[in-house]
């Protein structure tokens, strides 16, 4: 097996919270040496967010949220109130190939680490900023939080039930979307630098990057001057196309009844025929109310009620398996418990990562969503504790033990 593709690439990681860490996570997955610059005086927000193994906050190294998105990285703790700490960061930048941050536009400049300053000492550096609004434009100083970027992008006004207000996507989708596109951008810049020796600066607006995911909505407007109508889970070209309740096996979890659901789609009349047979009612295939796509679309409430009548008493994953065996697209509407404990497919593909972490022990985390035949695809280490690699990194940067001690004494490593 060859070395991981980014072996030897060093990343100075000024990111925090969610979009930026998801970007540098990809680079770590690919073998880059990623060093997070953190501070004990203002820890990364996700270090203080749940979930925690004992159910409540008791220390900065136990968040499942942080530990998921920082696997394979190192942590260097620095307090920039001390100029000596900035010197350490500069040494790290000088040996780095890539600098990543996701602060609002202008914050890196205020800290003294703007692109122009960095380029002065390292002309071929690649730097990327994943801000909410980008570096230019009248709103470039606006503040962005991941959850708010979903409605801002337009996705919320397109998502929702017919006749109801806009809905959110359910998670801060614009964040990981920015992170993965950011990783792509870094790789393209590394490719260019390898051929030409030239570094560059990359400006990302999370808002813009999210709009690339809703071209159908934007083009409906620019082609036809119309706002697309929210229409739940339905689709103009396929029916049935929905998520159906499987209530009778609902589980009671923490005083709440959690229904389970299954998604079912028929792409054409033949698939509808197979679904009807699987439901034990093959005659429905020829029923004029449902025979064609147009008819099924016109009678979709009735169609969905019939299907629900069939799914309701069954286990959701059994419905999916049964329909797949019959040649119909279906999948469990998976929740985190199902994915973790019950989805045999994901488990058999060895997707999960279980590495020993000094403070949370062995916990299950999501792994790498690709396999490379020429390179081992494995997460190399658990997420770092805050400052875990401070001494190691300073030694690598040429600091003696005495120098490290004196930096520590003045608080530069807090």
């Amino acid at each position: 097996m060859a070395k991981p593709p980014l072996s030897g690439i060093k990343v100075a990681d000024f990111t925090w919270v969610w979009a930026g860490p998801y970007c540098t996570l990809q680079l770590a997955h690919l073998g880059a040496d990623v060093t997070r610059i953190e501070t004990k005086t203002r820890p990364c927000v996700t270090r203080m967010l749940p979930p925690w193994p004992n159910g409540k906050f008791d220390g900065l190294n136990k968040s499942g949220y942080f530990n998921q998105y920082n696997q394979g990285k190192k942590s260097l703790s620095l307090n920039f109130k001390h100029p000596e700490a900035k010197d350490v960061a500069w040494r790290l930048i000088k040996e780095a190939d890539v600098v990543v941050n996701n602060f609002a536009s202008g914050v890196m400049e205020k800290m003294g680490f703007g692109y122009d300053a960095i380029r002065e000492v390292k002309s071929d550096i690649i730097m990327i900023s994943l801000s909410g609004y980008g570096d230019t434009g009248p709103y470039h100083e606006y503040v962005a939080y991941g959850p708010a970027q979903v409605p801002l992008s337009g996705l919320s006004s397109l998502t929702g039930y017919k006749g109801f207000p806009p809905m959110h996507a359910g998670f801060s989708y614009a964040d990981p979307n920015a992170g993965i596109h950011g990783a792509f951008a870094v790789l393209a810049a590394l490719f260019h630098r390898k051929k030409t020796g030239e570094g560059q600066y990359i400006d990302m607006a999370q808002w813009e990057c999210a709009m690339d995911l809703l071209a159908e909505g934007i083009l409906e407007y620019t082609m036809n001057g119309r706002e697309p109508e929210r229409n739940g889970n339905r689709d103009p070209f396929m029916a049935p196309h929905g998520i159906f309740k499987c209530r009778d096996l609902a589980e009671k979890v923490m005083d709440m009844t959690i229904d389970r659901w299954v998604s079912i789609v028929c792409a054409d009349d033949a698939e509808w025929g197979r679904l009807a047979s699987a439901m034990g009612e093959p005659e429905l295939a020829a029923d004029l109310r449902f025979k064609t796509l147009a008819a099924r679309r016109a009678n979709e409430d009735e169609l969905e009620a019939l299907i629900t009548g069939w799914t309701l008493p069954q286990r959701f994953d059994e419905v999916a398996r049964k329909l797949q065996a019959a040649g119909v697209a279906a999948a469990p509407c998976a929740d985190n418990k199902y994915l973790c404990d019950e989805d045999r497919h994901v488990a058999q593909r060895n997707y999960w990562v279980e590495l020993n972490h000094p403070e949370v022990g062995v916990q299950r985390h999501a792994g790498i969503p690709w396999r490379m035949s020429g390179t081992s695809t494995a997460v190399r280490m658990a997420a770092p504790c805050l400052g875990q690699h401070t001494d190691e990194t300073l030694a690598r940067l040429g600091y003696s033990k005495e120098e490290v001690e004196s930096l520590r004494k003045i608080g530069a490593l807090d």
Partner: protein, 402 residues
């Protein structure tokens, strides 16, 4: 100026969104992408629209035209042995072959990495499928809705305590395709970078389901860490983070830090109720959300979206409008950044499309050509590139290979 990837040669056998979006990301940075479509029918995205004047036409689908900018287009029937042979010949001098052919169809036509590697040992082959190439569900039929569900997102969205009977909700569009595509572009480029360092080509396999699971934010880890099911029906732990209706549209209230809440209270003119003990911090505001919501809805309903957005941002409170498509197209910030781009296509006409996801200072994202018409570059690619004679090309066309 040349794009960052301007000497990368790519073959894309892509339908709908995942492989085409991967190909688009690379093509828009300068790569030479030859897109292979089925003869006569082409990429299924050509049937999906939206279409100008709602007139379905294979050359006018907005989804297809968006996803295939900067590519050359050829047709090839891979179900015929000669079609696969021509694909092999194209792969001889390509750097990358991206595809989203389903595993069962890969077996049927013989689209295997071993075969492609024999044609070109340096080739990078990227296989994007809904569930990956191994495991019990590898051959599961899939549409965007079912993959988005299998990845664990739908269960987080929709309903709410008042509407628990409404089903979990899909996010608009073809999101599992986009995420599989961009998650495939990352290892593909990494492998191309490794080749510049002297490494060989390799086979990359991407699972759409796994790409989605890896984005679930904190919700996945609630089970391994705390044995809690993350659901759309739970009460939020902190508030306000909600969509609310103004006089002229919707706004997303997001003020989860204490200083942000104080800023919002000032904007509201510091009403007396805001000083109540039950709203003293973000946790109590969430516990008493049913009461707080009534106060906020009443006040917000008297405001206009832009005015409230600007006032909030002036106090560094990250509110955002719930943008409509019209809002986006007329937005002054997006205009000044030149986000939307105008593309003229010979059949579909001139329309505005979403533009660059990122701005590269040295190697700009560029639109060189609109999406190809079906088989537009057949003669150029089979003739000039593969040296087939015109009579041979005509014969292949007659037999439906091309």
């Amino acid at each position: 100026m040349a794009g960052a990837l301007s000497d990368l040669k790519i073959i894309e056998v892509g339908e709908m969104v995942s492989a085409p979006y991967c190909g688009k990301l690379l093509a828009d940075l300068g790569a030479d992408v030859i897109k292979v479509e089925r003869p006569k029918v082409g990429d299924h995205a050509r049937t999906r629209g939206p279409f100008p004047k709602d007139d379905p036409h294979p050359e006018k689908s907005g989804l297809f035209l968006y996803l295939n900018t900067n590519k050359r287009g050829i047709t090839l029937d891979l179900a015929q042995a000669e079609g696969m042979e021509l694909l092999e010949r194209l792969a001889v001098d390509a750097d990358v072959l991206i595809h989203n052919v389903m595993p069962s169809d890969m077996d049927r036509v013989g689209l295997t990495y071993d075969r492609m590697k024999r044609a070109n040992p340096n080739l990078i082959m990227t296989s994007i499928t809904p569930f990956g190439l191994s495991g019990p569900n590898r051959n599961w039929r899939a549409e965007d809705l079912t993959v988005w569900c299998a990845g664990g997102v739908c269960v987080l969205n929709g309903g709410g305590l008042e509407h628990a009977d409404l089903p979990p909700l899909k996010t608009f569009g073809q999101q599992s395709g986009y995420q599989a595509g961009v998650h495939a572009a990352v290892p593909t480029l990494a492998a191309a970078f490794a080749r510049l360092n002297g490494e060989a080509g390799q086979h990359i396999e991407v699972s759409g389901q796994e790409a989605i699971i890896s984005q679930l934010e904190m919700t996945f880890e609630y089970w391994p860490y705390m044995k809690m099911i993350a659901t759309r029906l739970g009460q939020k732990p902190i508030q306000p983070v909600e969509t609310m209706q103004c006089k002229d549209g919707y706004i997303y209230l997001c003020c989860i830090e204490e200083h942000q809440w104080r800023g919002f209270v000032e904007i509201m003119g510091s009403p007396e109720w805001a000083g109540e003990e039950i709203f003293k911090d973000r946790l109590t505001r969430a516990q008493n959300w049913d009461v707080l919501k009534v106060f906020l809805e009443e006040w917000v309903s008297q405001q206009t979206v832009l005015d409230l957005y600007r006032k909030a941002q002036a106090k560094r409170v990250p509110f955002a409008p719930v943008s409509t498509m019209g809002d986006l197209l007329s937005n002054e910030h997006l205009k000044s950044r030149g986000f939307f781009v105008e593309i003229t296509h010979p059949v579909a006409g001139t329309h505005k499309y979403p533009g660059a996801p990122l701005k590269y200072h040295r190697t700009p994202w560029q639109l060189r050509t609109p999406a190809p018409t079906l088989g537009q570059h057949n003669d150029e690619v089979f003739g000039a590139k593969l040296n087939l004679s015109q009579s041979r090309i005509d014969e292949l066309k007659r037999r439906g290979v091309i």
